[in-house]
């Protein structure tokens, strides 16, 4: 019997000594591990993953639009609560460092910067093989640098001082340091200078895949960065007493950067034809769905966030951008429809914005930006609407009898009650509704901004598969003009602006040059107003106002909502996301911005 014990004992020992380590090895068939990034394919795919963030930034409800569009002089949040409300009205109680839009921007940026740092740091070790040529490796490196600059610039515009790192982090670090804003600008500028040459020169040359960054995009962004930095150095503490930029005040440097901005923007404009880039011949064409990528028809675009669900619904994605600006037409028409969109009614323009679109008879940009007519999709018994005109409450009957006939009309200008009645009340067929600016209620009644509408969706509530143009050559002209103005070169400023105005001119109602402005017309306010006409809702307004130090004054002057009363000096910078502050548990605490 002792033999049995010995046999059992040796059995125990055998298992213990021989096999237990191997037997406990893990077997993984579900995911890829980090070593893959070192391969040529991994290098390419690392860059792909960074591009993918553009889909979230420009396509998601929690993306960048809430930071850039409402809460400015151009747009406000509708009365109804939406996800951007607290931020866009600068809500004194609810807009805090916990805000989701800020933490989304923050994490979208840093997650991808880490990947980019890995690529840029290790580029020399990435093998050149069947998957990757040397030229491609250089091109992707340039694109990686562009993306790093793009992400850092987004951060630095919103938050000021930020953490800047150019090395890959593979440690679970619980500490972080907030670096001076200028350190970020150094990285951004160097990256963009490199990217201008390393990237393919233009989206429209060399068969570059739509969606990639190009040298032209890098140059455009660099112009904006230089211009922004010029403004940073240009804010004296006497003129901008509560602006965090004033500690950098240095008029010489300001001039130097304005000059750099001007040079690079005007050079890009000059080079455009050789790069296959040009302004679209009419303003409306820029936002025509037919010209969207990857058709290659939009020669004005410089950098694009791709969605393209209809092209490939496995890889493509959809954005909610098409819904935000749609008014509440459904209340009267009894239903939504695909053409007119899904009635989020999140944002609507301030009076300032309507007024900025002056000269509508000759300037096509109002009609290309706003919807004026809605057509009945089903019969409605109708009723009465009333609103105040010239101090009197006026009532109008409405009724839809003919499907396809006019249902709602937003003329865009005020009319007297009699004019309205003459137009619709004695009509055969539909007695359609007319909403003049007197009726705009900041809630559901306002004209829809049509730039992002998507009329090729399957269902009226569907999101949009339209790609979004992040940078376009039109803005390069405005950057050049702004830099010229800051260099006291109003002649050139007017020259660049007039090219855009000429493009926007209604060729049927005016003759060439009729919309032109003179050098003496150029002021900062004029440039900002021209940007409204050209770039309304194109995700740059908040940054434009912050750059030019006009956020507080213009919001107080022009925002029709409560943002006007709520905005404070601290709002010139966004609060550092609370998550970041909470999670720095080692080393010095992560500082918050002043006032938050």
């Amino acid at each position: 019997m002792k033999r049995i014990i010995y046999i059992l004992a040796s059995f125990f020992f055998l298992i213990a000594l021989a096999s237990c380590q191997d037997w406990l090895e893990e077997e993984n068939h579900s995911s890829t591990t980090q070593d893959f990034l070192k391969t040529s394919q991994g290098f390419k795919m690392g860059l792909n993953s960074v591009y993918s963030v553009l889909g979230s930034m420009y396509g998601d409800e929690g993306g960048i639009h809430g930071l850039m569009n409402p809460g400015t002089d151009e747009l406000k949040s509708s009365t109804t609560e939406n996800r951007t409300t607290t931020l866009s009205i600068y809500d004194p109680t609810r807009y805090t460092a916990e805000n989701e839009f800020l933490s989304n921007l923050w994490s979208n940026a840093y997650k991808n910067i880490n990947t980019l740092n890995y690529m840029i740091e290790n580029v020399d070790n990435i093998p050149i093989d069947a998957n990757l040529t040397l030229a491609q490796r250089t091109q992707y490196l340039g694109e990686a640098k562009f993306m790093r600059a793009f992400l850092y610039f987004n951060l630095v515009q919103q938050f000021g001082d930020i953490t800047v790192s150019t090395t890959f982090n593979d440690q679970p670090s619980k500490s972080a340091v907030r670096d001076d804003m200028l350190k970020a600008y150094d990285v951004i500028i160097q990256d963009l200078i490199d990217a201008s040459t390393e990237c393919s020169p233009s989206l429209h040359l060399n068969g570059l895949e739509a969606g990639r960054a190009s040298g032209a995009a890098a140059r455009h962004l660099l112009a904006r960065v230089y211009l922004t930095l010029g403004w940073v150095y240009d804010k004296s503490s006497s003129s901008y007493p509560n602006n965090s930029h004033n500690k950098y005040y240095d008029p010489d440097k300001a001039k130097e950067y304005y000059q750099k901005a001007y040079n690079i923007a005007s050079k890009l404009i000059a080079d455009a034809p050789s790069l296959g880039i040009s302004l679209m011949s009419s303003f409306a064409d820029i936002f025509n769905e037919e010209n969207d990528d990857p058709s290659g028809k939009n020669k004005e675009e410089l950098f694009v966030a791709r969605m393209d669900w209809d092209l490939d619904n496995t890889y493509g994605r959809r954005s909610t951008l098409n819904h935000y600006y749609v008014n509440g037409y459904e209340a009267y028409m009894g239903e939504r429809n695909i053409d007119d969109g899904r009635c989020y009614s999140w944002f609507n323009p301030n009076v300032y914005t309507y007024n900025a679109f002056n000269n509508r008879y000759k300037d096509t940009r109002y009609d290309a930006t706003f919807q004026k007519v809605w057509y009945a999709t089903k019969a409605q018994k109708g009723g009465t609407v009333s609103y105040v005109i010239n101090g009197t409450k006026e009532s109008f009957n409405w009724k839809y009898t003919v499907v396809g006939d006019t249902a709602i009309y937003y003329p865009g200008y005020n009319m007297t009650a009699d004019e309205i009645r003459a137009k619709t009340q004695n009509r055969e067929g539909n007695k359609y509704l007319i909403f003049t600016p007197n009726a705009y209620d900041g809630y559901k009644i306002f004209p829809t901004i049509t730039k992002f509408l998507d009329r090729t969706r399957a269902q009226y509530n569907d999101n949009s598969d339209r790609s979004y143009i992040i940078f376009r050559l039109g803005e390069t002209y405005l950057l050049a003009a702004e830099a010229a103005y800051k260099l006291n070169d109003n002649e050139n400023a007017a020259k660049y602006i007039n090219i855009l105005r000429e493009r926007a001119r209604n060729k049927l109602t005016s003759v060439s040059g009729e919309l032109d402005i003179k050098a003496s017309d150029i002021t900062l306010d004029f440039i900002l107003e021209e940007r409204t006409r050209e770039l309304l809702a194109e995700h740059c307004r908040w940054a434009d106002l912050a750059r030019t130090g006009t956020l507080l004054t213009r919001v107080k002057l022009y925002n029709d909502g409560v943002a006007k009363t709520n905005i404070e000096e601290k709002d010139q910078l966004r609060p550092i996301p609370q998550g970041q502050i909470n999670k720095v548990t080692m080393g010095d605490p992560y500082p918050q911005n002043e006032g938050w």
């Binding site: 406990l24 109680t93 923050w106 593979d170 969606g211 409605q380 009644i445």
Partner: protein
């Protein structure tokens, strides 16, 4: 890390060597023991065999009464002993009645047949890797018999355990009311933060990782719940959260006995949710619109606001209101359900072989027709004695379950649907959108159409165990245990386009399936020996391996041109929209070595020492192995001589244990640096991107819990009152903690590491008493089981210098689930004081954004000027004003179970209770209570200038903040969980019909709950939950009638 690795291994080998050395040294003892016996003065030598029916009883004690002279039987049941004529000998063995006989002068062979002692058998309890006499137990454990479990007509044994065992907290996660939901079991609270807190379930001796729904309650014989380290340390790495040992029914010797057990009953909602009717809703809408537009209108009665785009969203909504519609959507959606259970079993066997087999069917429903749970099981077990020394057994539990509507919650839509709308249009067809909802709420009746919404989870499981037990010489025995568990589960979902799930978008299907294969192999060596008469040693050594492997795929598809395909054929020919797939593979292994020594001296002093070493594949190389020791002492005071002089106690035992147990409940592959993928379009083609998503801890190791337990088992009045009192403290160290890193690190996913400590301590008391000691027939029998227990949890460390981890809600020296939040301080009222205060914060007190009528936040943090003394004129309410408001776990909880029996009738009723803790109602902070007037709302008491004492703020279309602060309630309750009345037909009567026994009974389950009046006022129906009450179909109660028959 390499040094740690070496240490782990060598420590393990050292312990293993020690165990083996013990085995070998002990083998030499018997010789010495026998020598001692020879020396004794005797007059006569007797011998014989002790038998149990036909098989020898090994280890039975033969002793001269009143002396220490005795011996035990050998492997063949034989004994020999020197005695004097006239001695009274007593033969005893665990589980048998004592046999007495007198030594006669002319007889030297005494063959003894022992009778099984049913009463004593009940005193034998199942412990890990064996059974033990209750009086010998040194650990903290509770046993629940199937009699108690049968009281509740519920789907699974976890639900049946509610309120029955001290230290065992069983609650439905989120207050789920689905008939197939399995409640969450927590033994002595929660200790782990990132790893699991689920107890290890051991079914018929083999770790069971399946779903308790797979097992029929009727097949369960008994449950032992092991709570302290002395009891659980033999499960080493998986014992930290307690162990639930479930034994299924085994065959018993006798002629075949056929039994039928069944019940049938109705299930009804306890109540409807309290939402607004038409009249209340229009008033609410008027206020909500006016409150956001006070500058434009005169008040809620201003006729101007009763227009489209103002109070009404569209014309149909307005017409619906003026038509006087008042639809109660809940009435249309609910329908009483039923529940039933049938089980047919056969049990029997002869001296060699016993068997038990059963088939059963269970069905449960609630009051929403698409929700149901069905189970079919077939069970079989055979135990067979082969020859003298070998016993083999095999058991197989097979189940098929069908769970409908798990992910099909109708409430969000049904409760938000406007009372102004009607479900049918003028042609009698179902409408789609609810007017006024902006397309966000669709007709909830759409989902009830046949085939419109399908959510069907089906699972086939088989759990098979087998053993071979071989008796070896020298008191040794060897046991091989094998377990094989297979599970195939598949989920099929389909949502038609015109349903609340798709709201007109393309129809969608989703299907997934997985296969899990898990096996366990154990080699166990037992050695039982009594020497020097009073020293009893029971030694167990075990080696085991376990592997679990799971893999599966899923497929999602959109836009079938024919709804009838459902989810069965997601091919591009039929599903014209997107089709996408997914899947995964995961595998883990555990290897273990265990040794346990039970030693008792005169059954008076007890010692249990255990050590187990576990290696887990899931941890980092070098830290895979850990050893878990435990030691426990017991003192049976009743066996001391001095106790024989007192008459107060009839039982008294003191126990103390210390031990270390672990938890490896992390997902596999956590120590690898993984890349995540995403997708994008470049050019005309899709591309895939990869990015580093996690930063792994390359030295991830074990989380372990150090437990101290002190227990007293007591009995008074000849054990008419008996009970147990336990005190414990558990320190959990090297927590597997998901630390969230600052996002500037580049990683947004948590970094899993060993960091921080938690502590649980508490006491548990259970008392069983026979209040009226009758025989249950002619004299009333009334017995009560009562248990009460408490657990206090505290996070004691989060790493050096770290006092809080807000993103994980962890605060040092606070409960793990502490609620750290702003505190509501009523509502801002239109008083000069409140206005002044609000204005000092910079809050508007007039106009559209006036704070009057909104929730006021208590300023707990005074902001000072730079001097640190002068309070700032403008105080700010922000995160600094958060305070600790309490915790979600209760102060104490427990249950009282009463049984009365008289003349064939028996009545039992079970109360359970929970006191303290904060309940969070997701319903009151969710879509059901937006207070914006867009959708129908819970009927709450809201603020208006006339109703300033309201609990809830003024409604507003612009949104209402801080509702979450009001969505918290006292979680205390007392619940009459079940009440059951049965009648056993007298045997003399039933036997005439060939029926051995017959009982009929009726039970009301979840009959009534007493709870917080504020929660009741706000429309809460049942506060029972783990932490939050989610928006579920209303809680139900059931009324059943049942019958138990055996032939």
């Amino acid at each position: 890390m390499s040094t740690t690795k070496k240490k782990g291994i060598s420590e393990f080998r050292y312990l293993l060597g020690l165990l083996l050395a013990l085995v070998l040294v002990q083998a030499a003892f018997p010789a010495i023991a026998e020598n001692n016996l020879v020396v004794q003065q005797t007059e006569k030598k007797i011998s014989g065999t002790v038998q149990d029916g036909s098989t020898p009883v090994i280890g039975a004690t033969i002793k001269v009464k009143g002396t220490n002279n005795g011996t035990i039987t050998d492997l063949d049941g034989k004994y020999s002993l020197k005695v004097r004529v006239g001695d009274i000998l007593v033969c005893s063995s665990v589980g048998y009645k004592n046999q007495y006989f007198e030594v006669k002068p002319d007889q030297s062979t005494y063959n003894i047949t022992l009778e099984e002692d049913v009463e004593v058998l009940s005193e034998v309890v199942v412990v890990g890797y064996g059974v033990q006499k209750k009086s010998d137990i040194t650990g903290a454990m509770v046993n629940v018999s199937n009699k108690s479990l049968k009281q509740a007509p519920v789907a699974n044994v976890a639900a049946a355990l509610q309120g029955l065992a001290a230290g065992v907290d069983i609650q439905m996660a989120g207050g789920s009311t689905h008939p197939g939901a399995v409640p969450q079991i927590r033994i002595r609270g929660e200790r782990s933060i990132n790893a699991g807190n689920d107890a290890l379930i051991v079914l018929d001796g083999i770790p069971f990782s399946g779903n308790l729904n797979d097992i029929s309650n009727e097949d369960i014989e008994s449950i032992s719940i092991l709570k302290d380290a002395s009891a659980t340390a033999i499960y080493g790495s998986r014992g930290a959260n307690g162990v639930i040992l479930i034994m299924t029914k085994k065959g018993a010797k006798g002629k075949p006995k056929i039994s039928y057990n069944g019940y049938y009953g109705v299930v009804k909602a306890i109540n409807k949710y309290n939402v607004m009717n038409s009249k209340e809703f229009i008033r609410f809408k008027q206020w909500a619109f006016y409150n956001a537009n006070t500058n434009k209108y005169t008040g809620p009665d201003d006729p101007e606001i009763m227009q489209i785009n103002r109070v009404f969203k569209d014309q149909t909504e307005m017409e619906g209101y003026y038509a006087g519609n008042n639809t109660d959507w809940q009435d249309l959606v609910y329908e009483d359900g039923m529940t039933m259970n049938h089980q047919l079993s056969i049990n029997g066997g002869d001296n060699k072989t016993t068997y038990n087999a059963s088939v059963s069917y269970y069905k449960g429903e609630n009051n929403y027709a698409p929700h149901s749970f069905e189970r079919m099981t077939a069970k079989m077990s055979i135990d067979s004695q082969i020859g003298k020394n070998v016993k083999v057994g095999f058991s197989s539990l097979n189940g098929y379950t069908l769970n409908n509507g798990e992910n099909n919650n109708p409430m969000d839509q049904a409760l938000r649907a406007s009372p102004f709308a009607t479900p049918y249009d003028e042609n009698g067809a179902l409408i789609n959108e609810i007017p006024g909802s902006g397309g966000q709420v669709w007709n909830p009746l759409l989902d009830l159409q046949k085939g419109a919404v399908i959510d069907k989870r089906r699972a086939l499981s088989t759990f098979n165990t087998g053993y071979v037990n071989i008796k070896l010489p020298y008191g040794l025995s060897y046991r091989f245990n094998g377990g094989l568990q297979l599970k195939y589960e598949t989920l099929g979902q389909f949502q038609a386009s015109l349903t609340t799930k798709r709201m007109g978008a393309q129809n969608r299907s989703y299907a997934d399936h997985y296969l899990k294969v898990e096996y366990t192999i154990e080699n166990i060596l037992n050695w039982n020996r009594t020497f020097h008469k009073d020293h009893n040693i029971f030694f167990t050594a075990m080696q085991s391996i376990q592997e679990s492997k799971r893999d599966g795929n899923s497929i999602e598809a959109y836009n079938y041109f024919n709804d009838n395909i459902q989810y069965y054929n997601p091919s591009p020919e039929l599903a014209l929209g997107a089709i996408s797939g997914g899947g995964g593979f995961s595998k883990w292994r555990i290897m273990s070595f265990m040794g346990r020594l039970n030693y008792s001296y005169k059954e008076k002093y007890l010692l249990t020492a255990t050590i187990r070493s576990d290696g887990s594949s899931r941890l980092a190389a070098g830290n895979k192995w850990h050893s878990f020791p435990s030691i426990a002492l017991g003192w049976n005071m009743m066996r001391e001589n001095f106790m024989s002089r007192q008459h107060v106690f009839s039982a008294l035992k003191l126990r103390a244990s210390w031990g270390n147990v672990g938890s490896t409940a992390v997902d596999p592959y956590q120590t690898m640096s993984k890349l995540n993928t995403n997708k994008y379009m470049l050019g005309s083609s899709g591309v895939v991107g990869v990015y580093p998503s996690s930063v792994p801890d390359k030295s991830l190791g074990w989380e372990y819990t150090e437990t101290i337990n002190l227990g007293i088992d007591f009995g008074f009045l000849s054990n008419r009152i008996n009970g147990t009192l336990e005190f414990y403290q558990q320190k959990t160290k090297d927590l597997l903690l998901g630390v969230s890193l600052p996002i500037t690190s580049g990683y947004s996913s948590n970094y899993l590491t060993n960091l921080g400590n938690t502590r649980n301590c508490g006491f548990e008391l259970n008392i069983s008493s026979i209040n009226i000691e009758g025989d249950g027939q002619n004299r009333l029998l009334w017995s009560t089981d009562f248990n009460i227990f408490t657990n206090r949890n505290k996070v004691t460390s989060l790493g050096k210098g770290v006092l809080k981890d807000e993103s994980n809600n962890l605060y040092v020296s606070k409960d793990r689930w502490v609620i750290y939040s702003l505190e509501a301080d009523g509502l801002w009222q239109d008083t000069p004081e409140d206005r002044a205060l609000a204005e000092s914060y910079g809050y508007p007190t007039s106009g559209n954004s006036s704070v009057i009528g909104t929730i006021k936040i208590k300023n707990h943090h005074v902001d000072y000027e730079a001097d640190g003394v002068t309070p700032k004129a403008k105080q700010v309410i922000n995160d600094d004003d958060r305070v600790f408001l309490g915790k979600r776990s209760p102060d104490f909880e427990g249950g009282i179970n009463n049984r009365l029996a008289y003349k064939g009738f028996d009545l039992s009723f079970l109360f359970s209770f929970r006191s303290g803790g904060i309940l969070t109602s997701s319903m009151h902070n969710g879509w059901m209570n937006t207070m914006q007037g867009t959708y129908n709302n819970l009927k709450i008491d809201y603020w208006t200038p006339e109703n300033t004492n309201a609990r809830w703020p003024k409604p507003s279309v612009s949104g209402v903040s801080y509702k979450n602060l009001l969505a918290r309630y006292d979680a205390s309750y007392l619940k009459l969980r079940s009440i059951s009345l049965g009648y056993t037909i007298p045997q003399h009567f039933s036997k005439k019909y060939g029926i051995e026994s017959m009982k009929i009974y009726t039970t009301a389950y979840n009959l009534y709950t007493w709870f917080n009046s504020q929660y009741k006022k706000d429309g809460g129906i049942d506060p029972e939950t783990t932490s939050t009450v989610d928006l579920n179909t209303p809680p139900t109660r059931s009324f059943i009638v049942g019958i138990n028959l055996s032939f």
